[in-house]
């Protein structure tokens, strides 16, 4: 079934939605992924790219009590990660620690560091403090946003502050601003909302419907990228958030996730439900353009922003992660449980 792909594949046993780069692992390029199975026993896989970059090795396999909807690795401790899970009827979120005894047990139990159980609604995602060692976490459910203080040694987490977005907004995900640790973006039903964590109040919003994914440009301040159901990918400048700076066509069906490369400015990866991952290059000049120039013209002038389209997937691709250690490597996860690691090196000279 595999076409002429350069990607390295790895199959999970069940369906899966989320994959995360293990940022704290400085020795290897590793990813964490968790399965989404309603009826079977779910697993968390710790995958490591072999030093030659030709193989994907399962470094650890741990059972997880519930199906995993969201997974995020701790940015400062490679053994800690968070999951958002569902029992089918209710949702929960927890912080886990990978036990020391790697590979000895087939399916060792994960150590639960803390559970973020102040959640009332359907929790969507857990965000870690964007960089450095800080025990702050954010969790979002459909109506609320919580700021947690995690204490690993005491194995507890406390809510520092919370705010309600209101019934109507039904938050679905978000991103923590790497340039300003007090700012968090959350995607809602009809808008992208921005919160100031100091006051825990909503400060700004982009009125744009059906945003699925959101990511800050780690290289440039004020630049935000959103992925939408029907209308593709938009690049925004938060200082003038009324009109997008740039528009990328996105995917044939929904664009589910969008990720900015941590190292190469303007390199954007998007995953879609049309079973494809697209690599874009949104030229760096986009925000320096004169405001008089309409986005159409600027797009027209530019060469095709699509660098490559990886289409060797059997199902919708939901999970997407750049490696922070080797920033030209990314991992993608399609719904059928296939992890594919690709390198974008061949396209770097074109930037």
């Amino acid at each position: 079934m595999q076409g002429g792909s350069s990607g390295i594949g790895y199959g999970l046993k069940y369906q899966a939605r989320c994959i995360s780069d293990v940022k704290a692992d400085t020795d290897y390029t590793s990813f964490l992924t968790g399965t989404l199975s309603l009826k079977e026993e779910n697993e968390v896989h710790l995958l490591r790219l072999s030093s030659g970059g030709s193989e994907l090795i399962c470094e650890g396999l741990f059972s997880h009590p519930n199906e995993i909807w969201d997974l995020a690795s701790c940015p400062f401790d490679q053994r800690i990660f968070s999951t958002v899970f569902s029992t089918g009827e209710s949702f929960g979120a927890a912080i886990w620690q990978i036990p020391e005894l790697y590979g000895q047990l087939n399916s060792p139990q994960l150590e639960r560091v803390a559970s973020l159980d102040a959640l009332v609604g359907k929790i969507n995602c857990v965000l870690w403090w964007p960089s450095g060692r800080c025990d702050k976490l954010i969790s979002m459910d459909e109506q609320n946003i919580f700021l947690w203080n995690l204490d690993c040694s005491k194995k507890s987490a406390e809510v520092i502050s919370k705010d309600s977005a209101g019934m109507l907004h039904s938050l679905s995900g978000g991103a923590w601003n790497p340039h300003d640790v007090n700012a968090v973006a959350a995607t809602g039903e009809s808008s992208v909302q921005f919160w100031d964590l100091r006051t825990m109040k909503k400060v700004n919003s982009i009125e744009h419907a059906h945003v699925r994914g959101v990511d800050y440009n780690p290289k440039r301040e004020h630049i935000l990228i959103t992925a939408e159901d029907e209308s593709g990918i938009h690049v925004w400048d938060l200082r003038k958030a009324k009109v997008p700076v740039q528009e990328l066509p996105g995917h044939t069906h929904w664009t589910w996730a969008v990720k900015c490369n941590p190292e190469y400015d303007g390199l954007i990866l998007s995953a879609g439900t049309d079973s494809a991952v697209n690599l874009w290059y949104a030229s760096a000049s986009s925000s320096d353009e004169k405001p008089s120039q309409s986005p159409v013209e600027s797009i027209r002038q530019r060469v095709n922003p699509l660098l490559n389209s990886y289409t060797d997937y059997e199902d919708s691709v939901y999970g997407l992660a750049w490696s922070s250690r080797e920033p030209w490597v990314f991992a993608s996860l399609s719904y059928d449980g296939r992890v594919v690691i690709e390198s974008v090196k061949p396209f770097l000279p074109r930037i």
Partner: protein, 787 residues
């Protein structure tokens, strides 16, 4: 001779020296000439020392030499002696004769004094006599002189008394030149004595002169007089100190005022053009505005010619006037073409203006009117071309938007079709008209147009290029795909406007883009190649000329973009529907399915609408059951067959355990060809509908995947999907893909179900039948109501 002359000279010189030394008081001067070579041995020198000389001689010379010297010296002394004797003798002679003369003079002088006294007396008497004569004649002479003066005065007085009469005579004979000369001659006298003795006379002559001035003025103003005469009159008036400048100003002002009359006012222009038009039909109507205008301009130029001759110093002003008229003409022209004007009318007006310019140029060639007007004409023609294009674009967008207003109320009446046809027609008709117009422009053989031909062609080509580009941009703006530059500042405006835009309009625009790409642009490029080529070289310098290939690409891209946009807006609408459906209920606590959920109806209704719109606008594709490339066509059949097999299995095995069933589905999926869900959209009714359905079903699947279902929830989904199957297959060309997608939805639901037990087929059938019956009843009701 020289040797002979030298001693002669020597001798003479010596003589002269001797003489002069004899007479001269200062011997140094006399000897200065010979003492140049003075030394001891120079005897002639005053400082000559005979002893020293002697000593030197004795010391230096031998006896022989001394002897020789002695002889020589003796001879010289003898010589000198005789010379001196001669001199004395000669001088003595002279003394004697001088004394004689003096003696004689002395004797003659006696008696002279008496004669002299006598002479003096005589002269004195002569003088007194002449004085006497003079005094006796003086009075008479004085009298004569006085008489003469009086006579002159009298003559002048006579002249002045005669002046009025003479002037009258001159007036009668119209010899104003003489009259003016007379009058000016009499002027000084009249000035001095006019107030006293010649009062009447002066008054009379002034009256006469006034008449003359008046006559001259009328002559100057009258156009019937010859220019020569008028010029003379002007000169005479000037001589009479009549302020000619004010006259000139008055005249020129009059001319300026007449300029207003010469204007072709925009509102009149059309009239002018029309009348001109009608003149072709009815020649009897003599007093046509165009004719009048022409006469007026002719008069104007004649007047200018006259004034130029009369007032040579007023040239500048006339130039200014002529330029002003030309400028005004072109300004009015611009105003005129601001409204819609056909090329014929435009040309007619242009021709009139050009004729005017030519007329004026003849009179004032130095005013460089032709250059000025050529420039102005270029600008005007360029503007005209640009305006024509903008009118065309306006037309097209007007046609599109005209119908949009009533669209909401009357979707049924195939408005979209009407709009499409109308816009197509507007496009084709518009370009045809434009070509006709431009051809007229090119065929025009006014000098200026011939000159501008290349430029015009360049403009036209550029114009088309720009026109199509802006048309495309406008299409995109109309579709709401892009906000126009005006409301780029407000993103909210954009969002609202895109909501307001009717999806059907986008579809129309898409199809219109295709039409432009396939029909209009080739046609235009043909036309350009046929009759507007040649201007290329010039056009390329100014910018890109008409490049049909590029435009085709642009419109092709635009059409695809618009079609995609149409599908996007449509699926977006359905997506909202589905989102509401899946977000609202708690699927884990779903109740047993009782009927097909109503969102299915809404979904089908939306699809129906899409179908309707598509049918109005897009062509029907050649009906192909499977939308795949021919190479794997065989695969398609197998896949669809496996699908149907799988369907049979599904129905048969409904009673079996759900898990084994799922396993089978997975297995079936494994062996099935990966169905290409997302094929390229084509400009056919079927393709668009199919794509829309596919996208919606995919969305449905994704929504299902985000939920967790209990048994009843799953059964509800199963029921809904089962119901959808039949109507969807009817509307869609790619059954295999639809089957696959519907199955996928059920698979997704079963995967997300805690307790998968499908509905029994009889129950499923029953519920579907009930729904069908209900909808039929509903339809019947509707029909009865409507009938």
């Amino acid at each position: 001779m020289a040797t002979e002359a030298a001693p002669m000279d020597e001798k003479a010189k010596r003589m002269r020296d001797l003489l002069s030394s004899f007479y001269a008081p200062d011997p140094s001067i006399s000897t200065s000439g010979s003492s140049i070579s003075a030394s001891f041995d120079n005897i002639n020198s005053t400082s000559f020392d005979a002893d020293q000389y002697m000593d030197l001689m004795i010391k230096k010379s031998n006896l022989e030499v001394l002897l020789q010297r002695h002889v020589q010296m003796a001879a010289e002394i003898k010589n000198l002696d005789t010379d001196l004797q001669m001199l004395v003798y000669e001088n003595y002679n002279k003394f004697i004769s001088a004394t004689d003369t003096i003696k004689r003079m002395k004797s003659n002088i006696f008696g002279m004094e008496g004669n002299m006294d006598q002479l003096l007396q005589k002269i004195m008497s002569v003088q007194s006599r002449s004085d006497g004569v003079n005094t006796s004649l003086f009075e008479k002479r004085e009298h004569i002189e006085k008489l003469h003066r009086t006579r002159n005065l009298l003559r002048k007085v006579q002249f002045i008394y005669d002046l009025p009469a003479r002037l009258q005579k001159c007036i009668k004979s119209e010899t104003y030149g003489d009259a003016v000369r007379f009058y000016i001659g009499a002027m000084p006298i009249l000035k001095v004595y006019g107030d006293t003795s010649f009062q009447d006379c002066r008054r009379a002559s002034e009256e006469a002169i006034e008449i003359i001035i008046k006559n001259l003025q009328t002559k100057l103003f009258s156009d019937s007089e010859s220019i020569q005469a008028r010029a003379e009159a002007a000169v005479l008036l000037k001589q009479l100190d009549v302020p000619v400048d004010s006259l000139k100003d008055k005249l020129l002002e009059k001319l300026e005022q007449s300029l207003d009359g010469l204007q072709i006012k925009p509102e009149e222009a059309s009239l002018l053009a029309e009348h001109n038009d009608s003149s072709n039909d009815a020649e009897s109507n003599e007093q046509l505005p165009a004719k009048i205008h022409e006469d007026a301009v002719r008069g104007f130029s004649e007047a200018m010619r006259a004034y130029r001759e009369i007032f040579p110093d007023s040239e500048e002003r006339l130039f200014k006037l002529a330029r002003a008229l030309t400028a005004m003409h072109f300004e009015n022209m611009e105003l005129y073409i601001r409204k819609r004007v056909s090329a014929a009318d435009f040309l007619r007006i242009f021709r009139i203006i050009w004729e005017d310019v030519v007329l004026m140029d003849e009179v004032l060639p130095e005013a460089e009117l032709s250059d000025l007007s050529a420039e102005a004409a270029q600008v005007t023609v360029k503007k005209f071309v640009a305006r024509t294009f903008s009118h065309l674009q306006q037309d097209i967008s007007d046609t599109i938007l005209k119908f949009d207003i009533n669209q909401r109320e009357a979707v049924e009446e195939e408005v979209l079709k009407v709009v499409l046809e109308a816009s197509k027609k507007a496009g084709i008709q518009g370009t045809t008209d434009i070509f006709q117009d431009f051809r007229q422009l090119l065929d025009e053989n006014i000098g200026i147009f011939v000159k501008m031909k290349d430029l015009i062609i360049g403009w036209i080509q550029n114009g088309f290029q720009d026109f199509f580009r802006s048309l495309e941009a406008q299409f995109l703006v109309l579709s709401g795909k892009t906000s126009s530059s005006k409301d780029i500042e407000g993103g909210l405006v954009e969002g609202k406007s895109s909501d307001k835009i009717h999806a059907g309009l986008i579809l129309v625009l898409a199809q219109l883009s295709v039409f432009v790409e396939q029909k209009v642009i080739p046609r235009v490029s043909e036309e350009i190649a046929a009759s507007f080529s040649g201007g290329n070289s010039q056009a390329f310098e100014n910018g890109p000329a008409f490049i049909p290939g590029e435009l085709c690409r642009v419109f092709h891209a635009a059409s695809e973009k618009l079609l995609q946009h149409y599908i996007d807006t449509r699926t977006q609408k359905i997506s909202v529907l589905l989102r509401k459906r899946f977000k609202t209920p708690n699927w884990v606590k779903h109740k047993e399915p009782r009927e097909v959920h109503m969102y299915v109806d809404m979904f089908l209704h939306e699809l129906e609408e899409v179908g309707k719109e598509v049918k109005q606008v897009l062509p029907q594709g050649t009906f192909r059951k499977h939308k795949r490339t021919d190479s794997n066509g065989s695969n398609t059949t197998t896949s669809s067959r496996s699908n149907t097999l799988h369907n049979d299995k599904m129905t048969r095995s409904n009673s079996q355990r759900a898990r084994s069933q799922l396993f089978e589905t997975h297995l079936a999926k494994l062996f099935k060809q990966k169905v290409e869900i997302f094929t390229k959209v084509e400009f056919t009714q079927e393709s668009v509908v199919t794509t829309t359905v596919k996208l919606c079903l995919k969305s449905l699947q994704e929504y299902v995947r985000l939920q967790t279902f209990n048994r009843s929830g799953f059964q509800q989904i199963q029921l809904d999907i089962q119901f959808l199957k039949a109507p969807l297959k009817e509307t869609v060309e790619d059954e295999a893909a639809i089957d696959f997608l519907l199955d996928e939805v059920i698979v997704a639901a079963s995967e997300r179900c805690l307790d998968v037990i499908p509905l029994e087929p009889p129950i499923l059938d029953k519920l579907i039948q009930a729904k069908l019956a209900k909808s039929k009843e509903h339809n019947n009701n509707n029909n009865t109501v409507s009938s």
